[in-house]
């Protein structure tokens, strides 16, 4: 089966997660093998996911942990309601 680029885009996320059915995956794969635009979209999506997931992108504020545990320590000392 041959599918258009637009349909391939709908499957990119599940393709990356490996959750497509075998049949759909093969159809998408065949398209990707000869379509440079869809291949570039797939590669760039994967790349964007890897970069945004990097721990260095979203960091805890400096001292977050210390302040949190100080607050918890206060709570633990408080008499129960």
């Amino acid at each position: 089966m041959v599918i258009e680029c637009k349909h391939v885009w709908n499957h990119i996320s599940e393709y990356l997660d490996g959750t497509l059915s075998e049949e759909t995956r093969e159809t998408v794969q065949k398209h990707l093998d000869h379509c440079e635009i869809c291949s570039a979209i797939l590669d760039s999506t994967r790349n964007v996911i890897v970069l945004t997931a990097d721990d260095r992108v979203f960091e805890l504020p400096v001292g977050f942990s210390e302040r949190l545990h100080a607050r918890i320590a206060l709570e633990l000392m408080a008499p129960p309601d």
Partner: protein, 209 residues
């Protein structure tokens, strides 16, 4: 003392805390500090408020620990407390968040990606550049709430699809749809931007001169 302490199950730790060893709460929450903060930040987009919400959520979770049902995962329960806290806070502050009203309901329009002919991999070291970090942060923050939540849990905090669905109390198929849209929106926004900042340094120097 007990050398097996670090591998104690969460259920055991929670039982001990409820039995009076409250200091163990510090250990119980350590693995989740970042996730709770990130979820709070995804709502308020302001570090100080997000920190405040995260602290409140951890305190509330402690106060309500006896209501935690052991068949659920502690992390899932904790995130739902965090999300409630964040939503409450926004309601109290009566902050008008236009973009929330603009959240497209599931089932409408597909997101078209940015069309490229080739993609040269941007290495992870690129995130050491503040310029690149800012682009990534802004793109994630600009996602509509319902997509950002799913993206953060699934792709940043690396929960699986089922856990993400449970945490947000939505269906697995909704998680897949929202995740797909979030990823496509990020690709659309970021691929051209990242490609531009990743051009050879020489060109940028020329542009500055």
């Amino acid at each position: 003392m007990d050398s097996r302490t670090p591998t104690r199950s969460e259920a055991e730790t929670i039982a001990d805390i409820l039995a009076g060893k409250t200091q163990l709460y510090h250990e119980l929450i350590r693995p989740y500090e970042r996730r709770v903060y990130m979820m709070a930040l995804s709502y308020v987009k302001n570090e100080a408020d997000a920190e405040d919400i995260a602290q409140e959520a951890f305190v509330k979770a402690f106060r309500n620990l006896s209501t935690f049902r052991s068949e659920a995962k502690f992390s899932t329960w904790l995130i739902s407390i965090t999300l409630n806290e964040a939503r409450d806070r926004l309601r109290r502050q009566a902050v008008v968040r236009l973009e929330s009203l603009d959240d497209p309901p599931d089932g409408v329009t597909n997101v078209s990606p940015a069309l490229l002919r080739d993609w040269r991999e941007i290495p992870s070291e690129a995130v050491e550049r503040a310029e690149v970090r800012n682009l990534l942060q802004q793109a994630v923050e600009a996602l509509p709430d319902i997509y950002r939540e799913v993206f953060l849990l699934r792709d940043v905090e690396e929960l699986d699809i089922k856990e993400t669905a449970q945490t947000l109390q939505i269906s697995v198929s909704n998680v897949k749809v929202r995740l797909h849209r979030a990823r496509m929106m990020l690709q659309k926004q970021l691929a051209p931007q990242l490609r531009a900042v990743n051009r050879p340094q020489k060109r940028r120097w020329l542009a500055w001169s």
